[in-house]
């Protein structure tokens, strides 16, 4: 089982364009579905309100880490115990966080964007997702994952 998420996506747009879409707070808000209060500043907390249908009760509060122009944009953000409207915490500032990093690389056809989110192993094991819980998969697959994990990282 991985403790991180990694996504690689090829974008047919110049690096400068992708950088702007990531770091201009209005453009970021457009694709991320969040209404941000102001620009991203390293070391500062970016605040806003999620606009994604069904998640409008979620407040956005991420601490901007690095902004290396056209190379790296990163922030940490909280993962509260529950994201359900009924028990979503009013204040997430003490919740455990993960690190989100966007790395950009110029390619022949545009830009390679590598997104990683790491630090899930530091979250308590009780993140609740009843609304999204599926009944498929199950333990057989989990056993394989555990075996793989313990053989790779004894």
């Amino acid at each position: 089982m991985n403790d991180r998420i990694e996504k690689r996506i090829e974008l047919k747009a110049p690096v400068a364009r992708v950088w702007r879409a990531l770091t201009d707070y209005r453009e970021f808000g457009e694709w991320f579905c969040v209404k941000l209060e102001g620009p991203f500043v390293p070391g500062q907390i970016s605040r806003g309100q999620i606009t994604h249908p069904g998640y409008e009760h979620i407040k956005w509060a991420a601490t901007v880490q690095k902004m290396e122009p056209e190379r790296l944009f990163s922030f940490t953000w909280p993962h509260p115990k529950s994201i359900h409207k009924a028990d979503y915490p009013a204040d997430c500032s003490n919740e455990p966080t993960t690190l989100v990093e966007f790395r950009l690389e110029k390619t022949a056809s545009g830009t390679l964007l590598v997104l990683t989110e790491s630090g899930f192993d530091k979250l308590p094991g009780d993140r609740r997702l009843e609304a999204f819980r599926r009944n498929d998969g199950g333990w057989t697959e989990q056993m394989k994952n555990i075996e793989k994990y313990v053989t790779q990282k004894p």
Binding site: R17, D126, G137, I146, K153
Partner: protein, 115 residues
């Protein structure tokens, strides 16, 4: 019953890394494999056919119980242990959920910059 609910609350707060650490032992993996069949088992049943003593099996079970993937129930004088996949499956599902959210967000980003 009260023991069961108490252990669940406390144990589910263990970081996931602790779950993996607990499983990084051949004997404990073997015990989990036995309990995976779904039936609650007594210490005697779990010791049968194993090279380990009853005490050693109990110790390993307590480690697994400590990270919340095994829980114990008392029935009369007997303690029965059963497997609880919830902490592991819960995290896997959470990761899958966050991952899906990123897929959707990145698809919207792609649409925006390639417009």
């Amino acid at each position: 019953m009260s023991h069961k609910s108490r252990s669940r609350t406390v144990l589910n707060r263990q970081p996931r890394a602790a779950v993996f650490a607990a499983l990084g032992d051949e004997m404990r993996l073997a015990l989990v494999a036995k309990l995976c069949a779904g039936q609650p088992r007594s210490i005697s049943e779990l010791t049968e056919g194993s090279r380990l003593t009853r005490q050693a099996v109990t110790k390993h079970l307590r480690v697994l119980e400590g990270v919340g993937i095994v829980r114990s129930n008392h029935r009369g004088r007997e303690t029965r242990f059963e497997f609880d996949p919830q902490p592991i499956e819960g995290m896997k599902q959470y990761l899958d959920f966050v991952s899906q959210q990123w897929d959707q967000a990145l698809a919207r980003l792609k649409a925006l910059v390639e417009k």
